[in-house]
């Protein structure tokens, strides 16, 4: 068995490991997750995709100990989030989907510092780390704003800054760009891309184009883990996409319809160039 490790520490060599976990919400007739096993190595960048109700957010909540599995075991950096949630949260930070729910403090800077206060970081260091996180997400000048006066997208940046300030080894991002416009999304993806390579990232998203740089993509549907593929294979598998109600973003979808390679053509510029090259060679041939 791959996860046997040294046999003393279940899941010890993995950043995250789930062994045959199942979970049902009270009052729900079908399980939100059924018999899922998955392993993520330190430094891996893993995308998590799948339709609403597929089990993505449930998985996130099991990883940080907000929920405990009905059966099976979860290990995060070798610890069980169900019994040691506070210890686990030092290693694993979550950016939740709806930024409204996460903001608690009177001012933006206090909100960003909130996670650090809980970890007992000294005042001086806290100031530096908050300032660095504010810069990283482009919120300079917002430090003394009240979170309630911010737009949805700005709140999402505040929440991301709070996570960057804590600087956990494992970052779990649940739809981190759902409230951002195209420019804001590109920026967030750039922060993620700029994170040190040793960080482990689990990135839950409906925007499949955000996962092109992932090492692999896990697909959850109806509580089952139905695929674990590289982005190239995933994007070209039209049946898999259709069966799981996934829709490619506009540029690769146009490429696929025009008979061009969908995973290679990421940007409008790349697609336009490929179309020009194709029409010109066609003109010369004709």
């Amino acid at each position: 068995m791959e996860n046997a490790g040294d046999g003393t520490h279940p899941g010890g060599s993995f950043a995250v490991s789930c062994e045959r976990i199942s979970f049902s919400y009270p009052g729900s007739e079908r399980p939100a997750l059924s018999d899922i096993s998955l392993h993520v190595r330190p430094g891996e960048y893993v995308g998590v995709a799948g339709p609403n109700g597929g089990g993505k957010s449930t998985l996130v909540r099991l990883l940080n100990g907000l929920l405990r599995p009905d059966s099976g075991g979860v290990r995060v950096s070798g610890r069980d989030p169900a019994t040691e949630p506070f210890e686990v949260r030092k290693h694993l930070g979550v950016l939740f989907q709806n930024p409204e729910n996460g903001l608690v403090a009177p001012f933006v800077e206090d909100d960003i510092a909130f996670g650090l206060e809980n970890l007992g970081v000294p005042r001086e260091e806290m100031r530096d780390r908050v300032a660095g996180a504010v810069r990283a997400v482009g919120l300079e000048g917002y430090e003394r704003r009240e979170p309630s006066t911010l737009s949805g997208g700005e709140k999402q940046r505040v929440a991301l800054a709070g996570l960057l300030a804590v600087d956990p080894e494992i970052l779990v991002l649940d739809e981190p760009t759902s409230m951002l416009d195209a420019a804001g999304r590109r920026e967030v993806l750039e922060y993620l891309g700029a994170l040190p390579a040793e960080k482990t990232i689990l990135h839950v998203t409906h925007h499949l184009e955000e996962l092109l740089d992932a090492d692999r993509i896990l697909l959850l549907n109806d509580g089952d883990l139905v695929a674990d593929e590289t982005p190239e294979r995933f994007f070209s598998d039209a049946d898999l996409l259709r069966e799981n109600r996934l829709v490619l973003p506009v540029v690769p979808r146009l490429a696929l319809e025009l008979g061009l390679a969908p995973a290679k053509l990421r940007t409008p510029e790349e697609l336009a160039e490929a179309i020009l090259a194709k029409t010109e060679s066609g003109t010369r041939a004709g």
């Binding site: 957010s57 709806n98 416009d181 195209a182 973003p249 510029e269």
Partner: protein, 271 residues
């Protein structure tokens, strides 16, 4: 219904050091039976503007007119029945033990008889493909199911104008497409829809007109083709592709929607 905003201004936390001028004189008309898209960067004033459409926020300056009548002179309950507003992440307001009860809450406030309330609940849930959720607890639903239940609650008021603030944020692409189809269906049924969204690709698919907000002002308003071809750097992916091809292939025209764009690109490949 024709909904008109005239020189609307709004300031958050006025007179404090945290004062933010969110709307700096916005004039805009929502025509009967149209889908109007409101786009703009984060913090441009989109949500603030949406919340003025049923006077959830009272403008600090300017006015909101409903068929030419100052909205302030209308009963609040009447105004909010005619102009339905679905907030960002509306599912956070679900509260009843079942979805059915939740959707029934607002129409019941209108004093309709129980038969009519039931009928409206059924119709709204059906429109959202959510009939099977009727007896479930809102709290045991997935994010997408909750979203549909919350929108059904506003739809059950039978509004003449439906204002949707980021209705597809966090939804999976297939659920998003279902919701866009619902918007087009509502327009067919004579409801005007205001779609506030940061997703230019979806705005391109369903809107008749588009308004770009920038720092609390209207920067541009017009058909999607007019607005997006004016500045293709701030346009949906379809327009970004075609505008790059325009110099070499002017015959491509001004397509905006996915289907039109695909046809235009195929035509290029065929010659």
């Amino acid at each position: 219904m024709k909904l008109e905003l005239k020189d609307v201004r709004y300031v958050y936390a006025p007179g404090t050091p945290f004062e933010v001028e969110a709307l700096r004189g916005v004039s805009l008309v929502v025509e009967p039976d149209e889908v109007l898209g409101i786009i703009g960067g984060t913090g441009s004033g989109k949500s603030t503007l949406a919340q003025h459409m049923n006077l959830l926020l009272t403008p600090a300056g300017g006015e909101v007119l409903v068929d030419g009548v100052d909205a302030i002179s209308l009963e609040k309950s009447e105004l909010r029945r005619r102009v339905g507003l679905v907030f960002q992440f509306p599912e956070s307001a679900l509260f009843a033990p079942t979805v059915e009860e939740d959707v029934a809450f607002a129409p019941r406030q209108l004093g309709l008889d129980e038969e009519e309330v039931k009928e409206r609940v059924r119709e709204s849930l059906r429109a959202l493909g959510a009939e099977e959720l009727a007896a479930r607890s809102p709290f045991a639903l997935s994010g997408g199911e909750k979203r549909r239940a919350a929108i059904a609650g506003v739809l059950a008021m039978k509004p003449e104008v439906l204002v949707l603030d980021e209705p597809t944020a966090g939804l999976d692409p297939a659920t998003r497409q279902d919701l866009l189809a619902l918007i087009l269906g509502l327009r067919e049924a004579g409801v005007s829809v205001v779609l506030v969204s940061h997703d230019l690709d979806e705005v391109a698919e369903v809107t008749d007109r588009v308004c770009i907000l920038e720092e609390g002002r209207v920067r541009a308003v017009g058909t999607p083709a007019e607005v997006f071809y004016q500045d293709p750097t701030q346009a949906p992916a379809t327009v970004r592709v075609t505008s790059l091809l325009k110099e070499a292939k002017p015959e491509i025209g001004d397509p905006v929607r996915f289907g039109e764009t695909l046809d235009a690109l195929r035509a290029l490949q065929e010659v």
